[in-house]
């Protein structure tokens, strides 16, 4: 990109946008970018645009926008400084210069990067490595809580929220205890456990028998009732007192 102002080809396809063109022009000044004359650069850019227009080249919009902006910058730089004018034209010029410096730095380092000894071009890795093999076996991790939670989640998701409980009569342990204590108070002799059960359906009687048996065991533990059974599965007798 050693083209100078005079020899710049007018092939706009060669430039990656106005900043690229400006940088090429700036390099043409052959000075440190930090010492570059922005005014001269603006002149060059505008001159370049003039010639392009004279040749009736199609100019992309961003080049024209840059041209308009630079024309404005030029007039602002040439006019006596008016502190009321914002933004300060010197600052605009400095900003442009800083941008050029940064692009230039990246272009330069990019070239240096590309010129390094590159793997696969200048230096080479082993052509036929045997390769390393990791044989992985999965140790699956899941805990009991995860499992229970997952089932709860599935159940909650798919089971109906309302469910019908079949009409089933039950006698609770509390009720059985209460009834047993009350009845034992008026019974003096041995009585079969069935005598203590309330009347009702078969279902209720089964539940009552189970509850009453548990209640009897509890009362026996407390010494408030004595149990008697001749042999396994023989009738069970109850009597108040130890």
């Amino acid at each position: 990109m050693a083209a100078t102002d005079d020899r710049l080809t007018l092939d706009l396809d060669g430039w990656e946008g106005p900043l690229d063109l400006l940088l090429a022009l700036a390099r043409g000044q052959k000075v440190d970018l930090r010492a570059i004359s922005i005014l001269a650069l603006v002149e060059q850019y505008l001159g370049f645009m003039e010639r392009a227009r004279a040749l009736q080249l199609e100019l992309a919009a961003d080049y024209l926008v840059m041209a308009a902006w630079l024309a404005y910058l030029k007039s602002a730089l040439l006019l006596p400084r008016d502190p009321a004018v914002e933004p300060d034209p010197d600052e605009l010029a400095l900003r442009l210069q800083l941008r050029l410096e940064r692009l230039d730095a990246m272009r330069d380092t990019g070239a240096r990067l590309m010129a390094r000894d590159r793997l696969g071009r200048d230096v080479f890795a082993r052509g036929a490595p045997e390769g390393l093999h990791n044989v992985k076996t999965a140790a699956w991790q899941v805990g009991f809580f995860d499992l229970a939670t997952a089932y709860g989640r599935v159940a909650a998701r798919t089971r109906p929220v309302f469910h019908v409980v079949a009409d089933r009569q039950v006698m609770t342990l509390e009720a059985a205890l209460e009834r047993l204590v009350a009845l034992l108070g008026v019974q003096i002799h041995w009585q079969r456990i069935e005598r203590f059960l309330p009347d009702g359906t078969d279902g209720l009687r089964r539940s009552a028998l189970a509850s009453s048996f548990l209640a009897a065991l509890e009362l026996a533990r407390q010494g408030r009732v004595t149990l008697r059974q001749a042999e396994p599965f023989a009738p069970l007798y109850l009597k108040a007192g130890a």
Partner: protein
């Protein structure tokens, strides 16, 4: 350590970068000088090292020292978390076994990817347990003894029942809407 000569370094680099074993002539074509002496010097240099220079059928190449071949392969157990779909499927098999894939899908409410059951079988928690004698004779799945052992269960009866789950708040309907949303995203 004596430093290697130019020819030796060149042969070393060419053989290292070569994608196939090379004849002395082929190496010479790259290096430009006679390579017999450098090849022998290199072979001697590498003789006791982790990599050896060997000649097989007149072609030279580097290879790992035979006694170190075991280092190139490594078995490793990787802890991996079971996916959400995996845990749910496992839970359904555990609670409903023996259960067909279609039944799992019906209970989960979403399709069960083939991979999910594969993973559970690979983990040794689920096994095919015969076929159901209905049209299509679908496979049924059940848990394994290894499943019980892994989760510290004496038997499947130790799985918490619905009441336990409810008591533990695991059936909390408040979460329901959220869960459904998440499941939808996941699938």
């Amino acid at each position: 350590m004596t430093s290697p000569g130019d020819a030796e370094r060149a042969v070393e680099a060419v053989l290292f970068a070569a994608t196939e074993p090379m004849t002395a002539d082929a190496i010479r074509a790259h290096v430009g000088v006679d390579v017999r002496a450098p090849l022998l010097a290199l072979a001697a240099h590498y003789a006791g090292r982790g990599v050896n220079l060997v000649c097989r059928g007149e072609r030279w190449h580097f290879q790992t020292a035979p006694d170190l071949a075991h280092l190139l392969r490594r078995d490793r157990e990787e802890p991996r978390r079971l996916s959400r779909a995996g845990v749910e499927t496992l839970a359904i098999v555990a609670y409903h076994e023996p259960v067909t894939r279609a039944e799992i899908e019906a209970i989960r409410g979403v399709a069960v990817a083939k991979g999910t059951l594969d993973v559970l079988m690979e983990a040794g928690w689920v096994r095919p347990a015969g076929r159901r004698e209905v049209p299509g004779r679908p496979l049924v799945y059940a848990t394994t003894p290894h499943f019980l052992a892994h989760f510290g269960l004496a038997s499947r009866r130790d799985l918490p029942g619905m009441e336990d789950l409810r008591a533990a708040g695991l059936l909390d309907p408040v979460d329901l809407a959220l869960e459904v949303e998440k499941t939808r995203e996941e699938d």
